[in-house]
Amino acid sequence: MQTGTPEKIFVKGNEAVAMAALEAGCHCYFGYPITPQSDIPEYLSRELPRLGGEFIQAESEIGAINMLLGASAAGVRAMTSSSGPGISLKQEGISYMAGSELPGVIVDVMRAGPGLGGIDASQADYFQATRGGGHGGYRIIVLAPASVQEMYDLTMLAFDLSDIYRMPAMVLADSVIGQMKESVTCGPRPQTVLPPKEWVVRGRAAGEPQNVVKSLYLGDGEMEAFHWNMQARYQELADRECRWEEVQTTDAELIVTAFGSTSRIAKTAVAMAREAGMKVGLMRPITLFPFPKKAYAALSERCKLFLDIELSTGQMIDDVRLSVARDADVAFYGRPPGAGSLPTPEELFEQIKKNYRASA
């Protein structure tokens, strides 16, 4: 399914996700309508069957995630997408996929919560995404796009990382990134070397081993061994796959840190601060799991003041605090999600000034 095009096109973030999935060779998509991500199933319901793939509008998000589990176990690339309430429903299936070491891409276009919440941008599902979300103690790969281009690129990357590390991968966007339109270059699928899927259920031919995709471990020590094995894999992820963006951090005396849509606003505020002669930089994690701990640690060797900004009352700040040097301070500015809570660049610039002055 080659759909890559070198030309720049102007599309919504959600559409970029769908286009990347096609280019990545996603064979099956299973979803359920929910704002603000319905452009993804709409796009794929139109394009996927044309390319020989399978689109199912499932009976529920529970149905969709379990279809993803089945398709992934059968060896094809598959994806689902949703938002807050639907992602909560998917947690059962995500836990089973993690327990069964199954790849699969889950796109979460965050909206406000808890409960039905609202359809405005939110970053309050950071914990749900980065701590696994379901029962049993597991992690999944979490990638946080901050532009429509990254919606495309990180969806593509999610498929590769998910296949390589045999665990679900989530693209954690929000309604701003999902709904806004930007120019995007739809590059071709990268020529990543992927491990053979020897574990897939395919029908056991004579002489071949029986393949079983399961998460039940009853044997003495089996479950514990599974956990240590996964722990080692998470460490491998942390060693190899951390991604982040730094802006003007070299001489910074204050480093603003934010992910996703908030980092876009923060970037403008940082530029305002620089114009005003303040030594301020930006640290934007792109992988939320694995969290780029070493990069934060390295920055905090020199810069002792961080300002974490989130569309929540503070979740990522826990990871930032655990990552920076013990003598570094991490200030916080948050706007809990909801209509009208998206901060302006001026508002964030004020926060930068306040913290910068206090440290001077």
Binding site: H27, C28, F30, E54, I56, A58, E59, S60, I62, G63, A64, N66, M67, L68, L69, G70, A71, S72, A73, A74, G75, V76, A78, E92, G93, Y96, S100, V201, R202, G203, R204, A205, A206, Q210, N211, V212, V213, K214, S215, L216
Partner: protein, 247 residues
């Protein structure tokens, strides 16, 4: 001397965890015989559910996906859509299929997924210790209906073979029992027909197998077998409820 009765190739040469007198073993065997007779073992993917049926992969010599509780029809949907050239079947108990998984089975059936569902109805949650199931009979005492199932509060048992046969997506639906040689032979025929539907790509096929659970019914295997005759079959009549292709 000619050996006339052997273990089906699709079953492993292992002993099962099933209790004495339980009918799961018979259903396993009949499904395995059907796979053998169609010669489809090497292209079959089984989907195990949660409950006594979870160890499907330990007994069937086929590739197996273990589904979350109730979700086997959704998992099977994903597998079949991904690999339409494979034979995909689910094997589910009554709590799994008719309680927590009601949504998944109804919708997979209504979509007419080209899969086979083997539903083992023993009117109780076997693995968890005999709690009330969606198919527990009126007045039946279980560990969570100690005074007997009260239909005014708990509702009446679901008749899944009839219920699903009303959906346009369902091609074949039948209810069988395993409590007598005659019923076992008929069950074999029906299970084979259900797989024939999939082999010939004629649509969604469903088998409801009435089964005994001596342990959780608190009965001897013989009494449990008799209960199938005396109490279950009158409430859950055996028969073919839908056979769209007349196979």
């Amino acid at each position: 001397m000619k050996q006339v009765f052997t273990r089906p190739e699709s079953l492993k040469d292992v002993s099962t965890h099933f209790c004495p007198g339980c009918h799961h073993g018979s259903v396993h065997r009949l499904v395995a015989e059907a796979l053998d007779e169609f010669g489809i073992r090497s292209e079959t993917i089984g989907v195990a559910s949660v409950g006594c049926s979870v160890f499907l992969y330990g007994y069937f010599d086929v590739d197996v996906i273990e589904a979350p509780h109730g979700r086997a029809p959704a998992v099977a949907t994903g597998a079949k859509r991904a690999r339409p050239d494979r034979i995909v079947f689910t094997y589910q108990g009554d709590g799994d299929l008719a309680a927590i998984g009601m949504s998944e089975i109804i919708h997979a059936a209504n979509r007419g997924e080209d899969i086979t569902v083997i539903f083992v109805n023993n009117t109780t949650y076997g693995m968890t210790g005999g709690q009330m199931a969606p198919t527990t009979l009126p007045g039946q005492k279980t560990s969570t209906s100690p005074y007997g199932r009260d239909t005014s509060k708990d509702g009446s048992p679901f008749k899944m073979a009839e219920l699903l046969s009303n959906l346009d997506g369902v091609a074949f639906s039948a209810r069988v029992a395993l409590n007598s040689p005659k019923n076992v032979l008929n069950a074999k025929k029906m299970i084979k027909t259900a797989f024939r539907y999939q082999v010939e790509k004629k649509g969604f096929s469903f088998i409801e197998a009435l089964a005994s659970c001596p342990t959780n019914w608190g009965m001897s295997p013989i009494d449990a077998n008799q209960r199938v005759t005396d109490e279950m079959i009158p409430y859950f009549p055996l028969g073919v409820y839908k056979n769209t292709a007349n196979l």
